[in-house]
């Protein structure tokens, strides 16, 4: 999936492989093509992790700085775009760690709560279909704001798994945590994001008349 995103045919000719060969010969035009072709998308990746625009731009520069130096050792085991994407993600995470100045807030208040008998304290209701439509810019902004509210360690896993589409094993390696920890964090991050979106997206659905009584299982 990542390869499709970063190595899409919109880059034009020549494709990544001939580009790599030209880069290795020190071709100025090839370097220019690399930066123009991938820079915008790498900036989008870095922006997802780093809220500060200057940090995101710095991360893109660092990404290319590292890539230029590593090019002679890049064997082409994956596509150029995939390789650059991984460097950008790594660089963003490192910058994020260096920026963290206060202890992370707990995610617990955003997780579902249960009664002693195992029922939800606040039974779920469906979301309003038109409201959750992504045709609405307002919904997109709401989702972005809500993701930004997640504690970093959960937000990062959600971004890496659901948005950057890395595998559980890749995320575990990148964050130096177990695959099980990745799964737990991903599930909690999704639950917390759902909780943050719920009051906004369920508003009209509530009028449909769900009550705690009729949403309990028998």
């Amino acid at each position: 999936m990542i390869e499709q995103r970063m190595d899409s045919p919109t880059l034009g000719e020549p494709g990544p492989e001939p580009l790599l060969l030209r880069l290795r010969t020190g071709d100025d035009a090839a370097y220019h093509e690399l930066v123009i072709g991938y820079g915008g998308r790498l900036l989008a990746v870095c922006r997802r992790f780093l809220a500060n625009e200057e940090d995101a731009r710095d991360a893109v520069q660092d990404t290319f700085f590292q890539a230029f130096r590593a090019l002679p050792r890049f064997e082409g085991g994956c596509q150029l775009g995939t390789w650059l994407h991984r460097i950008a993600v790594n660089t963003s995470l490192m910058k994020l760690r260096s920026r963290r100045s206060r202890p992370e807030e707990s995610i617990e208040p955003l997780l579902p709560r249960f009664l002693d008998d195992g029922h939800q304290v606040d039974p779920a209701v469906d979301w309003d279909e038109p409201l959750r439509s992504l045709e609405h810019d307002e919904t997109r902004r709401l989702v972005r704001r809500s993701i930004d509210q997640l504690p970093d360690s959960y937000r990062n896993v959600l971004l890496l798994r659901d948005i950057e589409e890395l595998s559980t094993a890749e995320v575990a390696e990148l964050l130096a945590i177990s695959e099980n920890a990745v799964k737990i964090r991903l599930h909690r991050a999704r639950q917390a994001l759902r909780e943050l979106l719920d009051p906004h997206l369920r508003q009209r659905a509530v009028a449909g008349g769900h009550s705690n009584e009729n949403t309990r299982p028998v």
Partner: protein, 85 residues
């Protein structure tokens, strides 16, 4: 033979494993029996999946806000980072 019924808490706690197909056939059957009688968990499951979709669409691909291309001065600054030689 009596069938085991699990609680909403168990369903919601192990939802990711259920959706990832990591549960045993027996456990998945317990999930499905619960979902057949619990509208709240059905709504939770549906809105959980919608959350993932909303996140992907709001942040993935070209949905990111801001200019997609690098400013010319940034391109120049990056190209200046090339190692000599």
């Amino acid at each position: 033979m009596s069938q085991k019924y699990i609680t909403c808490e168990e369903v919601i706690t192990f939802l990711l494993s259920y959706l990832s197909g990591e549960l045993s056939a027996e456990k998945a059957g317990e999930f499905e029996r619960h979902l057949a009688v619990c509208p709240s968990c059905v709504h939770y499951l549906k809105t959980y999946k919608a959350t993932v979709e909303l996140g992907r669409n709001a942040l993935g691909g070209t949905a990111e806000p801001g200019p997609s291309a690098l400013a010319p001065e940034m391109v120049r600054a990056i190209l200046a980072l090339r190692p000599p030689g």
